[in-house]
């Protein structure tokens, strides 16, 4: 039941943040910042930018803590979503200070391997692992590129060398299959 206890702790920490308790935010930082920086870095691809994302995200966690309630999912998921959204916004704003060639090179080589490795790191007995395994290779790749790497439909189509419309419909079908599989 360790997981449940930890999730409850985050719930309480958010409630304390809403009341102005900075130590509660600090406890979230101590426990989650390392993973949050790493997840932002997977998307924005640079450590300094990832830290910027996490910095903004923690301020948002603080200012929006009062909005958190269990009908928005787990506190864990809520906090991670804030970091993901900040990272995605940074990508959409095109703030990455890379040249186009840098991005292409980085994305081609390391990032795709890293993205696929994410699936391998999942607990083999988890539903998510099994359900991703049940997808065919290309669809699994598409889903992981989107979620883990923050790729857009267009980027996915380019990497998988398929037309944009095809990429969109594959991903839609893959998401639907995952929902069915995990229900």
């Amino acid at each position: 039941m360790l997981v449940d206890v930890r999730v409850n702790d985050l719930d309480k920490a958010l409630a304390a943040c809403a009341k102005g308790d900075r130590m509660a935010l600090r406890s979230i930082y101590d426990r989650e910042a390392g993973r949050l920086i790493a997840l932002a870095e997977r998307i924005v691809q640079r450590r300094e930018l990832a830290e910027e994302v996490v910095q903004e995200a923690f301020i948002r966690i603080w200012t929006h803590a009062h909005q958190y309630s269990p009908d928005r999912g787990s506190a864990h998921g809520w906090i991670y979503a804030i970091v993901r959204n900040r990272a995605l916004n940074l990508l959409r704003d095109g703030k990455r200070e890379y040249t186009v060639e840098d991005v292409e090179a980085l994305r081609e080589s390391e990032q795709v391997d890293e993205i696929m490795a994410t699936w391998q790191k999942l607990d083999r007995n988890s539903r998510l692992y099994e359900c991703l395994a049940a997808l065919d290779e290309t669809k699994r790749r598409g889903i992981l590129m989107a979620y883990v790497g923050g790729y857009s439909h267009g980027e996915i189509a380019g990497r998988l060398r398929i037309p944009l419309g095809t990429a969109k419909s594959w991903i839609r079908r893959a998401l639907s299959a995952l929902r069915g599989c995990m229900a």
């Binding site: 809403a18 009341k19 102005g20 900075r22 935010l25 600090r26 930082y29 101590d30 910042a33 390392g34 993973r35 920086i37 790493a38 997840l39 870095e41 997977r42 450590r47 830290e51 996490v54 910095q55 923690f58 301020i59 603080w62 200012t63 803590a65 009062h66 009908d71 928005r72 999912g73 787990s74 864990h76 998921g77 809520w78 991670y80 979503a81 993901r84 959204n85 995605l88 916004n89 959409r92 994410t118 699936w119 790191k121 999942l122 607990d123 988890s126 998510l128 889903i143 989107a146 979620y147 883990v148 923050g150 857009s152 439909h153 991903i171 839609r172 998401l175 639907s176 995952l178 929902r179």
Partner: protein, 234 residues
């Protein structure tokens, strides 16, 4: 934003994966506040994919990043650092948040305040550094708790001839703001207020601009010139 109910799970997934544009994402976020089914679908989608994030190899988090976060935290609504006055006083503006954020400047001045307080024989129970909306230090209040307080003006505050500066404190939310007295002219002053509970840490002090003779209602009615929270000398 228009969508069919049956499309909700798909919209939620695409939102969670980040597959939609920024403006559409903002629309979905607004819609989530109204539409419980969409909110639940987004929550469920997040939970489905969350293991991909929680299994990431943690990076080393550092103290410097925490400090950058901490100095930028605004005060929370409803905490003592952002007490709102009763509606009689409708001069609150967002700018005060900015003022509150300049806690660093205030604490530097607090040190100055402490130095001069230490050189005095009577010890104030609390000292409050009052800053204006731009975060500039305007005055220091020393509250001795025995119906005596001293205010030292540290900036030239312009007061029209038919107006006066009035000093207030908020001993508790129930009591509401209480006048400590008027400042004649633009000098530092010794104030003899009413008997109040002993001043505490984080108690709010402020100066408002009132008509000559002081606020007619006994509550602050004019614009806030400066405000700050008390701290106990350590």
């Amino acid at each position: 934003m228009m969508y069919e109910r049956r499309d909700i799970p798909e919209i939620a997934d695409e939102y969670v994966l980040g597959l939609i544009g920024a403006s559409e994402a903002a629309e979905i976020e607004a819609e989530m506040e109204r539409d419980a089914e969409l909110r639940a679908a987004v929550a469920a989608s997040r939970e489905r994919f969350l293991p991909l994030d929680t299994t990431v190899e943690p990076a080393a988090a550092n103290e410097a990043l925490w400090r950058k976060i901490e100095v930028n935290l605004p005060p929370q609504a409803g905490t003592p650092s952002s007490i709102q006055f009763p509606p009689v006083n409708d001069n609150q503006t967002n700018g005060w948040r900015v003022a509150a954020l300049s806690a660093i400047a205030a604490s530097v001045m607090l040190a100055v305040g402490l130095v001069f307080s230490l050189t005095r024989t009577a010890e104030p129970l609390v000292i409050a550094v009052l800053v204006n909306e731009a975060g500039e230090v305007q005055a220091v209040v020393e509250d001795f708790g025995n119906e005596n307080a001293r205010i030292r003006l540290l900036a030239d505050i312009e007061v029209p001839t038919d107006k006066t500066m009035q000093v207030w404190t908020l001993p508790s939310r129930e009591m509401g703001p209480i006048s400590l007295g008027l400042i004649d002219g633009v000098h530092s002053a010794r104030l003899e207020g009413p008997a109040l509970p002993s001043p505490r840490d984080s108690q709010l002090y402020e100066i408002t601009l009132e008509q000559a003779g002081g606020s007619p209602t006994g509550r602050p009615t004019g614009p806030i010139l400066a405000k700050g929270l008390a701290q106990r000398p350590r």
